[in-house]
């Protein structure tokens, strides 16, 4: 199992770089993961989405798909793709330290 170091701590990730144990995530790791994924700064809107992803994961055991994100996070689909250009649900899940959401829409 590959590991990566964020904010001074070693965490276990899968081949795609997603956290295998979401409990290892801490907020101060997010900017580093975001940087590695090509996002230079996490704005308040970014954080709104990240917090929503962790919340959904905690409640439902899985992160939301893009559609669900666009509907319930308070951020529109257009904005989501501006904040996270390479696939919002996938990228936000990675930065939020939760597994990649499975869903077709």
């Amino acid at each position: 199992m590959p590991t990566v170091t964020y904010a001074g701590t070693n965490v276990a990730v899968n081949d795609e770089g997603f956290f295998t144990d979401p409990d290892q995530w801490r907020e101060d790791m997010a900017p580093e993961i975001a940087n590695a994924a090509g996002i230079d700064t996490l704005t308040e809107q970014h954080w709104q989405v990240l917090k929503f992803m962790r919340h959904e994961y905690a409640e439902k055991g899985t992160g939301p798909t893009v559609r669900a994100l666009g509907r319930t996070s308070g951020v529109s689909i257009k904005q989501l793709y501006q904040l996270f250009p390479k696939g919002p649900a996938k990228l936000a899940a990675k930065i939020a330290g939760i597994p990649k959401p499975r869903g077709c829409i």
């Binding site: 893009v66 666009g70 689909i77 390479k86 696939g87 996938k90």
Partner: protein, 157 residues
């Protein structure tokens, strides 16, 4: 294609006008964008109905000569059967939070995918840009489509 073999761009052709003929292309385009891939949608022949203002809310399931539906052709041909089956399926899709075709097309455009209509089909059916929803970027020829699709995969549906 990226060094790791991942697809970076897809251009999807939608050529059919039935419910089951249109959805796969839309789902693939939306899915591509969600994976960070560039995506284009090219509507041709009856696929134009999916982006046609007057028709995109009335797309039906094909109930005649559709072996996948497991419905006898004579039964599927009765007046109203197509409408009823379409409504039935649409309700099921709603429960799964699958958007309607107009909503889906809008959503896909919001993700930044390019939506195009086929020039030849537009000429054939006597249509113009005004007939289409505002999300359609342009009416293009097949050659222009190939230019757009360059460097990526082409999926025909």
């Amino acid at each position: 294609m990226a060094d790791n073999g991942k697809i970076e761009k897809v251009s999807i052709v939608i050529s059919k006008g039935s419910l089951e003929g249109i959805y796969p292309g839309l789902i693939m385009a939306n899915g591509a964008r969600a994976e960070g891939m560039e995506a284009n949608l090219f509507f041709t022949f009856f696929g134009l109905d999916a982006i046609h203002r007057g028709r995109h809310e009335h797309i039906k399931l094909a109930t005649v000569g559709n072996p996948g539906l497991h419905l006898a052709t004579w039964a599927g041909g009765f007046p109203g059967v197509s409408t009823v089956m379409t409504q039935y399926l649409s309700r099921k899709m709603e429960k799964l939070d699958i958007p309607s075709i107009p909503e889906f097309v809008e959503m896909i455009a919001d993700t930044g995918a390019g939506l195009y209509a086929c020039q030849a089909s537009v000429d054939l059916f006597g249509l113009s840009k005004d007939d289409f929803v505002e999300q359609v970027k342009d009416i293009i020829t097949v050659g222009e489509f190939y230019d757009l699709a360059a460097g990526g995969q082409i999926i025909f549906t």
